[in-house]
């Protein structure tokens, strides 16, 4: 179903020609924000907007939804203690009236009164406590269980699988069903106690793992899964599996981000067909244009005034499989990083739509300080050559990735940059499918450099570091392990204030850059496109349409 590469390749020279001829018309930047302007209230009420999506891979239980297809629906159906500003990404109180540190290891949360689930029952403290306990309890097999790790009593409800998932031995049944660290004070107040200080926990609670669940879910999960009941700005209406899912504005919603539009339909379809549908005004919104539209910036000519590159919390990196002895020389890794002319690649391949990175996070994340990578991420041919000679590397350098999704072009450019600087052969080794790369990575059989990237779950630098660079982190794919980094990250997690935590994370980043297990390249904005009838279109840093802001003209 995917369009073959040669088609896209054929499009590039064509659009390059278009781009050159249109250059004379001058820079159109600095004008009015595309898609801005007031909507029509009558139409907001009557029209159903359609949004591109993909079939959720699990039922819409927030604690069990970690991929983006289900994630954007869960985010519309639920609102937690905190949420994130759709522009700056800053965490702010949502259902929490107050969220205070009452001791270094304890947060006290007071809830706003009068918030209800879509079934009319009020959202109370026990809805949070029950939901978090359900997520953490290991026999429930919830994907987000690890988010509860720091809460006191987690070890009692979550037992590890003793011999890995493929072996017959089943994990032991935990000795408790509830974490002792979640204490209900009254209906509108509860305490969260940690085994060690964990100040940044507050910012995390806007993420899907920490949503409240209604009593009906615990009474009968199977019925709930058929018609999910949340507490967010939208309520579930109906669903056709593998086709579409409809939601409708929840008029009793008490949050500040009340939507203006009445109905939204997520349509699960092929990305290329969805792009054609947006072009033809049959589909209203697509968060990320497909590669065929991004190659050569076709989208700019295809959809004038109704497409835009939005910054999202995503970074592009290139990882070394450090478990392979070949890649254990740190001088080699630094040499590769310093041999890449990031400025030139972003200018030529992405036409300035991406910004080179000089750290392992990105500046859309509050409290993030750029530049931890320092000289290691600067293009420095002389130093790179010296380090490369010192490393004693022999043979060609290979970089692998799936070739579709527009990755081929930039990897070849990066390779060209490396080859020119270091005078060593560098080749791109494409594989047909993304899942093949993932399999080699997960089996730890990778023997080439590989493309890697990260879309943060919530706006915290912690989310760019702990999962990827900490020993045994949930996404630590390349086997990187440095006790000093682990200690620094642990210290940051335990920091008593957010500021102190951010400082320690920055120091951890510096330590990681000294080891260079992965090369930071650039941020990856998302090119969103929409139909002519939408206005006030905005993409959140989590790569979702801001449903509270969008309107119909």
């Amino acid at each position: 179903m995917r369009r073959p590469r040669w088609l896209a390749a054929g499009v590039i020279p064509l659009t390059a020609a278009l781009a050159i001829t249109s250059c004379s018309s001058g820079d159109e930047g600095g004008g009015e924000e595309p898609g801005a302007g007031a909507g029509d209230p009558a139409k907001n009420e009557s029209v159903e907007i359609t949004v591109f999506g993909s079939e959720p891979s699990r039922p819409l239980v927030p604690g069990d939804t970690s991929e983006t297809g289900g994630g954007k629906i869960v985010d519309a159906l639920f609102t937690g203690l905190m949420d994130y500003d759709p522009v700056s990404g800053e965490a702010r109180e949502a259902h929490a009236e107050s969220f205070e540190l009452t001791s270094p290891t304890e947060y006290t949360v007071k809830l706003k009164k009068g918030w209800t689930f879509h079934d009319g029952t009020e959202v109370k403290a026990h809805n949070y406590i029950d939901a978090w306990n359900y997520t953490a309890y290991s026999p429930n097999g919830q994907q987000h269980a690890s988010f509860m790790t720091q809460i006191k009593g987690f070890a009692d409800v979550h037992t590890p699988d003793p011999d890995g998932p493929d072996a017959p031995q089943q994990p032991a049944t935990p000795k408790a069903k509830e974490m002792s660290g979640l204490v209900e004070v009254n209906d509108y107040e509860f305490k969260i106690q940690f085994t060690e200080p964990h100040a940044i926990f507050k910012v995390k609670t806007g993420y899907a793992a920490f949503m409240p669940m209604p009593d009906s879910f615990f009474a009968d999960p199977e019925t709930w899964k058929k018609t999910p009941v949340g507490n967010g700005a939208f309520k579930y209406v109906a669903r056709v599996p593998d086709q579409e899912l409809q939601i409708e504005r929840f008029d009793e919603y008490e949050g500040a981000d009340k939507p203006k539009i009445k109905k939204v339909k997520f349509v699960f379809t092929d990305a290329d067909a969805a792009y054609a549908a947006v072009k033809g005004n049959q589909l209203d919104f697509m968060d990320t244009a497909p590669p065929q539209a991004i190659a050569g910036n076709v989208w700019e000519t295809d959809l004038p005034g109704r497409a835009k590159a939005y910054p999202v919390m995503a970074v592009q990196t290139m990882s070394f499989p450090v478990y392979d002895p070949k890649y254990q020389n740190v001088d080699f890794r630094h040499a590769v990083s310093m041999a890449i002319d990031r400025e030139a690649v972003t200018k030529t391949i992405f036409e300035g739509n991406r910004e080179p990175l000089s750290g392992y996070g990105m500046d859309l994340v509050p409290g993030y300080e750029d530049g931890a990578c320092g000289k290691w991420c600067e293009f420095n041919p002389d130093e790179a050559k010296k380090l490369f000679a010192k490393s004693g590397w022999t043979g060609p350098i290979q970089i692998t990735s799936n070739a579709d999704n527009g990755h081929k072009e930039w990897i070849e450019a990066v390779c060209g940059s490396i080859q020119e600087t270091l005078g060593v052969e560098c080749t791109f080794e494409p594989v047909p499918q993304f899942s093949q790369v993932r399999q080699a990575i997960e089996a730890r059989e990778m023997d080439q450099l590989y493309r890697s990237g990260w879309l943060a779950d919530y706006p915290l630098i912690e989310n760019f570091l702990n999962p990827i660079y900490r020993t045994g982190g949930s996404s630590n794919d390349n086997g990187y392990s440095n006790p000093e980094v682990d200690a620094k990250l642990a210290a940051a997690d335990k920091a008593e204030t957010e500021e102190e935590a951010y400082q320690l994370y920055h120091e951890a980043e510096e330590l990681i850059a000294e080891d260079m297990p992965a090369v930071p390249l650039w941020n990856t904005p998302s090119i969103s496109c929409w139909s002519e009838r939408l206005t006030n279109v905005r993409l959140t840093p989590k790569r979702e349409l801001d449903l509270s802001y969008v309107e119909v003209k």
Binding site: M1, S57, G141, Q143, V240, P241, A273, A276, F434
Partner: protein, 308 residues
Amino acid sequence: MGRYVLRRLLQLIPVFVGTTFLIYFLVWAVPGDPFTGMCGERPCPPQFVAAMTDKYNLDDNVVVQYLKYMGTLLTGDFGQTYAEQPIGDMIANAAPVSVRLAVIAVIIEAVIGVTAGILTGLRGRGFLDNLVLVSTLFLIAIPTFVTGFVIQIVLGFQLEILTPTVSTEAKWSELIIPGFVLGSLSMAYVSRLTRASISENRRADFMRTALAKGQPKSRIVGVHLLRNSAIPVITFLGTDIGNLMGGAIVTEGIFGIHGIGKLIFDGINDKQGAIVTGVVVLLVLVFLLVNLIIDLMYAVLDPRIRYD
């Protein structure tokens, strides 16, 4: 005749069991792990994998899995996807769309293809014959996705006379153009097949006899020639119905149609064996029944063929 039909229906059972097992086995044997990519760009937590493996019997060997699957299938339950959605509903939603698409494609194939074939077959060499030969050769030579994209771009975006993609309701009118794209290749085959069959039968003995008996031309062509030339064409059209339903993956992808083809493609991509097998079960049934009907039609068309 009745006994023949009964025998053919009984033969369906082993064919059905064999094909479904083969498909189940093939999907099972495709390298890869359904949990790759299920949890975003990170491996799924082991407790999650353990719970899912248990729930979907992924630990059993393939024969046991297949038997468990067939057991529930025989009660009319197609099972659930990993997202706990009923596969039966998904097929029930997708099948009518694909049937509509296939019917339109077959009608286009049959009407245009057979007409072109008859005209050229009767007239013999000439301008029309060359035109049809060249244009069908052209259609056969270009793959469906090229026809699809060209039509989508030209009619949908440049001339703006049709909507470039099909809505989720997939109304009949919206499916005409995709149906044409889907049927275009077979249309070319049908016209060539009809043409060859007719020009061959024109020289047959029974034609000379009919002519010698002094029958009117319309009766000679309409009854004797067409009826005898129809067998290969009907055979082709019949098998094509199944092909068009299950093999519309490319066309459905281009026009964003939510049919059987998309369902299979998604099922294979996510390694959801139950979806793929479920759809194939349906397609196998369609193939078998259509073939049975076609075999019975042979006897109607050609009195020399008897099923006793």
